[in-house]
Symmetry: C2
Subunit: 127 residues, 2 copies
């Protein structure tokens, strides 16, 4: 129900924590997906409105949080080299997407009271 | 398995989003729980190492995100007044805790590859 009210629907964002640090989350997942599709850290960051420095810092954080890197350099080629996901990078991105889906699936009931109690903005009241 | 490695276990933090804004999350939930136990926004914030201003800003954000407030003032009494959760506040805190539990329950499988791939710190290697 309420499928038509897409703009007002609440949703979950999941951060995977290790100690006090984020080791995976929605921004890192989107960046990895875009690195895979663009073949470039810079292009992926650009599409997310992120500085080159910020995109590299996130990749460095991902690469050092795990036992082996999630993103690796690709030497040569027409574009003079780029980046791609390692097997581990693809595996952990896939695990995170699965996690998002599984939590979304179970969260409907617990989110319902929040959804129902949302403040209605003036535009919505008049609409 | 690996139940003994408590310090190195990864875990989820859940943010409930509405549009581009956080409307509920771990910090807000802890603050609400402490307001309920301390009967004071200031005392709750203090216990979280939060400034009075920051605690009030979070309460204000919670109160205006929903159709009615989650925290209300308590007039008079020995302490000269304080704060407590409204029925809605208690209900949404409980819904959020349920959400955390339900996501934790389903996340074990999807988190396993991340847990397995964690970088091992030098201290852990030597231990």
């Amino acid at each position: 129900m309420a499928k038509q009210k897409v703009e007002t629907e609440i949703f979950l964002r999941l951060r995977v924590m290790h100690g006090g640090s984020i080791i995976f989350g929605p921004g890192r997942a989107d960046l990895l997906a875009l690195i895979e599709s663009h073949g470039s850290i810079a292009a992926a960051g650009r599409q997310m409105g992120m500085s080159y420095k910020r995109a590299w810092a996130l990749v460095d954080s991902l690469n050092t949080s795990f036992a082996s890197p999630l993103v690796e350099a690709v030497k040569g080629g027409a574009g003079g080299g780029g980046a791609k996901l390692t097997t581990l990078g693809a595996e952990l991105l896939s695990a995170y997407r699965r996690l998002e889906q599984e939590c979304a699936d179970v969260s409907t009931g617990a989110l319902a009271p929040m959804q129902a109690a949302l403040a209605v903005s003036p535009e919505q009241k008049s609409g």
